[in-house]
């Protein structure tokens, strides 16, 4: 039984990392958002499994929040934004896919080496969880720095938050309040950035953040 629960938790967390990798090579915005929705679903499953094995019922709430907001509300909202902005045809990666994937592999290796080394006496489940969470955070950051479009930067940021939630649920006894606040902070960030996007759009006719740089009178 113990082996099985561990394996399933491991599988789900590893799945999150895999989906993060999938995000790295999406060059269409709709595809990216779909992958993000998948990311949130896997997160919800992983959190729910943690709730089951830790027998912590409040984590079901976290899983539900992840499922409702991150897998449904936010992707749908982003879909609408993209349609209203008419940018669904844009292809936008700043760095080529090959180097990005290589960098992603490097980052996952780094977080594995680091986490497995600094937590030798921790519970193996939490250890694996933390290592995967760190990989997801780093991959989220990588998504943010390799994209030019503000929408995909928002997506990268939210996948980073997913990593934080994974880390939080992996540790036993994390109170629900913290997770709700994390979830709401993402929601608020989403709203703020959405408003911000429309503002940029109104002013510059584009959501390419490069327009901001052009406005400041600088070269890239």
């Amino acid at each position: 039984m113990n082996g099985l629960t561990f394996d399933i938790a491991h599988l789900l967390a590893g799945g999150l990392v895999l989906v993060s990798f999938m995000m790295l090579y999406q060059d269409r915005l709709f595809a990216l958002i779909n992958v993000f929705a998948l990311h949130a679903v896997v997160l919800a499953l992983s959190v729910a499994w943690q709730a089951y094995i830790q027998d912590a019922h409040h984590l079901y709430v976290t899983a539900a929040i992840a499922l409702v907001f991150k897998a449904i509300v936010i992707p749908v909202g982003l879909h609408r934004i993209i349609q209203r902005l008419g940018i669904h045809r844009d292809i936008e990666t700043a760095v080529g896919i090959g180097p990005t994937m290589l960098a992603g592999i490097g980052l996952v290796t780094l977080s594995m080496v680091l986490m497995l080394r600094v937590t030798p006496e921790a519970d193996p489940l939490a250890r694996e969880d933390l290592a995967f969470a760190l990989s997801i955070i780093l991959l989220g950051l990588l998504v943010m720095v390799t994209r030019r479009n503000a929408v995909s930067q928002v997506v990268g940021f939210m996948s980073l938050e997913n990593g934080l939630v994974l880390a939080a649920t992996g540790a036993k006894g994390m109170p629900l309040v913290v997770e709700i606040s994390v979830a709401f902070s993402i929601l608020i960030a989403f709203i703020v950035i959405g408003v911000f996007l429309f503002r940029i759009r109104e002013r510059f006719d584009s959501v390419d953040v490069g327009a901001l740089d052009d406005y400041r009178g600088e070269r890239r």
Binding site: L141, V145, Q153, L212, D213
Partner: protein, 672 residues
């Protein structure tokens, strides 16, 4: 009965209250009188309280802890012999500067920029001396620096003052950083910030050496130790004259207090080589300071450079005290430390006096440049008399006080053959040579200062209109002149009042001097050396009176006034007199080529040409060029490069953060 330290703290609170009051009233006409009157009263009261405590119970220690500052430390204050002595110096200087300010401040163009900060500055200096934990010490130190910076910037629209203020601020921050690190090391891993705990701790040799280096940087930059002196000749003259007097005469002494407190009190056992370091820096400072002063023609800058020289003299004595203390020669160490403290007191007297005199000249003529002065002895006879007293005292001529402290320092130097280490045996006489050289150069420098400013004929129209200054300024200057003379003819009294300090820091004292007949002082033994200021004074007074009597009796009636022979020129202008630069030329030729890379170029027109001959003198500030210009250049280069970081794209900023995070994680992963 309230402990003395509590009374002193009430005084500090009153000074701070005066500062706040000054903010409110500073634009009224009566504000100057009110504020300086208040500071005069408070400083005089503090002086009387502390001096009576020093006289009554010299070894007494009173301490108080207030629930201020950091909650787990509180604010500790303590008054022992050392801090009492420095409080006397601070408050005597403060009281006389206030007295002088009562008159001088009436000519102030922007009193609202001076009045609030003057009491705050006094309060800051008092607090530094009273503080008994590192936190309070640093806080007061920084408060003192900032208040004095505000005073330097009082006339911020005048040329160069802003730059002076900037350099002062940079150097003061650097000094405080060094002090912060020094106290951090002394506090040790437990973070015990009270001085009592630091005294009890036994720091290792490496820690002690680092603390010495940091204190030389921190206290040295405030005191003006070469090569950290650069701010001093810029900032001291920029302030109003009574503040210049306080900064030069008193604030540098507070810095020396910090050095003595840490090196002699908190660090218990010095290593012998620490004496070598301090001696070397002191000797270098003394000679370079006075050489700079000799080349200067701005009177207040000249005085500021001379302050650097005197700081050098004090540090030489302190270095001797360290060397003797390390070699368990307590009587010689007590002699050297007494010489240092005596010179601290003396310098606060005569440097205040000279700055007051320079301020009087500034009030009367509006000129600081000596090349525009001259002949002031006829227009300002009283000022010129007290200025002469100041010049004679600072040139270390008997019977005034400067001679006694330098003589004591030389007595300590003469003890050096008994030292065991060869390094010290060689070093101490060499530094003694430097000290003698600087004393001689100081005399030349002040002959120049007095001669050019007061003697000869007026060099500008402003001098012709000059008249004597007000009676408050004169009262302050005459008091200081009298103190110079008194300390010169009754040195035994000062030496005996310094004995509790040397007893507490070194565990020994100089022999009791007041028991000697006729106010003589005998620092070591009757057979070695003795000095009697009263005798010298009486001899000078009697022989000078007799000479004057004989001249007037037998020669004056034969006096005939006739025009001076002008070498055949029909009209001799005042420009044909000696100038400050020409007076210093021989010395510049001897030392300048080495110390300042000075060069003279004479451009002689061919016979028949109508163009004038030209003498161009080129002088480099070597220290500035070697130490400061490369640093300033490097900083400018780095900021130029870093400036591009202000204009990156959002994605690049994210990338920077990301790369930084990854680097940190890599370091963590690869750390063994």
């Amino acid at each position: 009965m309230t402990p003395i330290v509590a009374l002193a703290l009430w005084g500090v609170a009153a000074l701070l209250g005066t500062a706040i009051l000054a903010v409110a009233v500073s634009r009224r006409a009566s504000a100057t009188r009110l504020v300086y009157g208040a500071t005069l009263g408070i400083s005089a009261a503090l002086f009387v309280i502390v001096a009576s405590a020093l006289a009554g119970d010299p070894a007494g220690v009173s301490a108080v802890t207030l629930p201020l500052g950091l909650p787990w430390i509180g604010a500790h204050f303590r008054l022992d012999a050392l801090s009492s002595f420095f409080l006397v110096v601070v408050n005597l200087g403060g009281a006389l500067a206030s007295l002088y300010g009562l008159g001088y401040g009436r000519h102030e163009t922007a009193p609202h920029r001076v009045l609030p900060f003057f009491p705050a500055f006094l309060a800051g200096m008092n607090l530094v001396v009273l503080a008994d934990d590192a936190f309070m010490f640093l806080l007061s130190w920084e408060f003192m620096s900032l208040a004095s910076w505000a005073l330097v910037m009082a006339h911020h629209r005048e040329q160069d003052n802003t730059q002076a203020g900037y350099i002062y601020l940079v150097m003061a921050s650097f000094g405080t950083l060094a002090l912060l690190l020094a106290f951090g090391l002394l506090a040790g891993p437990d973070g015990t910030y009270t001085f009592d705990a630091m005294r009890a701790a036994e720091p290792g040799r490496f820690v002690a050496a680092t603390v010495l280096a940091l204190m030389l940087l921190g206290a040295g930059s405030k005191a003006g130790l070469v090569p950290l002196h650069v701010w001093l000749p810029l900032a001291h003259p920029a302030a109003p004259s009574h503040v210049s007097a306080l900064m030069s005469g008193v604030m540098t002494k507070v810095a020396i207090y910090g050095f003595i407190r840490v090196i002699f009190d908190l660090l218990s056992e010095p290593a012998w080589w620490s004496g070598v370091v301090v001696l070397f820096l002191g000797g270098l400072t003394a000679v370079l300071g006075i050489l700079y002063a000799l080349l200067e023609k701005d009177l207040k800058r000249l005085l500021a450079y001379s302050t650097i020289e005197n700081i050098g003299v004090i540090f030489v004595s302190l270095g001797l005290a360290l060397a003797f203390k390390a070699n368990a020669m307590p009587s010689a160490a007590a002699l050297a430390l007494t010489a240092a403290l005596f010179h601290v007191l003396n310098h606060s007297f005569f440097k205040s006096l000279l700055f007051f005199g320079a301020g009087a000249m500034l009030t009367a003529t509006g000129e600081r440049n000596m090349e525009k002065l001259g002949g002031l002895i006829h227009r300002m006879p009283l000022t010129s008399f007290v200025f002469l007293v100041g010049c004679v005292s600072i040139s270390a001529l008997p019977p005034f006080n400067g001679f006694v402290s330098e003589w004591l320092a030389f007595q300590a130097i003469l003890q050096s053959p008994d030292l065991p280490q060869w390094g010290l045996k060689v070093m101490v006489p060499a530094v003694g040579g430097l000290l003698a050289l600087s004393a001689a150069l100081a005399a030349a420098c002040f002959v120049k200062a007095f001669g050019i400013a007061f003697l000869g004929r007026p060099r500008s129209a402003a001098v012709e209109l000059a008249h004597e200054v007000d009676r408050y300024s004169l009262a302050a200057m005459f008091t200081l002149a009298a103190l110079c003379l008194l300390a010169g003819i009754m040195p035994g009294l000062v030496i005996d009042s310094l004995s509790p300090v040397t007893l507490s820091l070194i565990g020994n004292r100089m022999p009791v001097q007041m028991a000697q007949p006729w106010l003589s002082i005998v620092p070591i033994g009757e057979s070695r050396s003795s000095y009697n200021g009263l005798l010298v004074f009486a001899f000078i007074a009697i022989s000078a009176s007799l000479a004057a009597f004989f001249i007037h009796r037998f020669a004056s009636h034969a006096l005939r006034r006739s025009p001076a022979w002008g070498c055949g020129f029909p009209d001799v202008t005042p420009a044909a007199q000696y100038t400050a630069v020409s007076f210093a030329q021989p010395i510049r030729r001897v030392f300048g080529t080495f110390a300042f890379r000075a060069r003279e170029m004479v451009e002689m027109p061919p016979p028949g040409a109508t163009s004038p001959a030209r003498l161009t003198v080129e002088v480099h500030d070597v220290i500035w060029e070697i130490f400061y210009q490369p640093i300033a250049g490097a900083i400018e280069f780095a900021t130029e490069k870093l400036n591009h970081l202000q204009f990156l794209t959002i994605r690049r900023y994210l990338t920077l953060v990301f790369l930084y995070l990854v680097t940190l994680l890599l370091v963590l992963a690869l750390w063994p």
